[in-house]
């Protein structure tokens, strides 16, 4: 499958989920809060990775300009890596991780710890990441990652059953 087709199909799936409705937003904010609590980290996010940006469709604990803008360019996104691999991503200390040490969110916004798991639709598209973020390095236990994955699976089931979801014409 070409990148263009894969990208179009994944984005069309995101559009069909109608994540901007009030009901979806409430559910996504609750999900972000649950991720923050589960990982015992100050920020929880439901980041939907779009073609050119990540969209914080649900958030807990985010402040400042990132909360106001509600996302970032995709090239700054840790969650983009989760979408590209389809696997959980754990960064215990971003400042010493060569993959992320020069990331602008690490250098200028103080991101240190990141734990994210993929949000996967029934059709198999990875639409984004359920993640928790902290400003201090720390270890994450495997049971916490497993619990976050379970939370992400249940969340996608709930999102895909929301009444506002658009039905594909295909």
């Amino acid at each position: 499958m070409s990148d263009l087709r894969e990208s179009s199909e994944r984005l069309a799936e995101i559009a069909r989920l109608s994540l901007g409705t009030a009901e979806a937003r409430h559910l996504l904010d609750e999900l972000a809060a649950a991720a923050s609590k589960l990982l015992e980290l100050p920020i929880g996010l439901v980041s939907v990775v779009l073609s050119d940006a990540q969209w914080f469709a649900g958030q807990k604990g985010l402040t400042g300009w990132l909360a106001a803008v509600g996302g970032t360019p995709r090239e700054w996104s840790f969650c983009s890596t989760v979408v590209e691999t389809g696997e959980p991503l754990v960064v215990a200390d971003a400042a010493t991780d060569p993959r992320f040490a020069s990331n602008l969110l690490v250098v200028h916004e103080g991101v240190r710890c990141y734990v994210g798991v993929p949000l996967i639709t029934q059709a198999g598209h990875v639409i984004g990441s359920l993640c928790a973020i902290g400003d201090a390095a720390r270890k994450v236990e495997s049971r916490q990652i497993a619990s976050l994955r379970q939370l992400a699976v249940r969340a996608m089931q709930n999102l895909e059953s929301l009444p506002g979801r658009q039905v594909s014409a295909c």
Partner: protein
């Protein structure tokens, strides 16, 4: 929050960069049609003179449309908001 682009570099959205981004999803011909139609709907003409505020208006219109244009519009809004916030500060 004041702008702090000197320590936080951020690329400026332009018509060319948006066409390239949308073209990567829709194909360039369809991307030009979608952007031209959205510009017309917001009282603009799609050309290289459009600034970031113009692109933000186009993005806001697209984000209300069904299907792929909605998610492309949200992404463009975020890129425009990021640039405007980090270079000019929040209104």
């Amino acid at each position: 929050m004041s702008g702090h682009t000197s320590i936080f570099p951020v690329s400026k959205p332009t018509v060319a960069s948006v066409l390239q981004s949308f073209g990567g999803v829709l194909g360039i011909a369809q991307a030009e049609r979608v952007l031209s139609d959205a510009a017309a709907q917001t009282g603009l003409t799609l050309d290289g003179n459009l600034d970031v505020e113009d692109l933000h208006r186009i993005a806001a219109f697209l984000s209300t449309q069904p299907g792929l244009p909605s998610v492309l519009g949200i992404a463009l809004q975020i890129r425009c908001d990021t640039y405007l916030t980090l270079t000019k500060g929040l209104e």
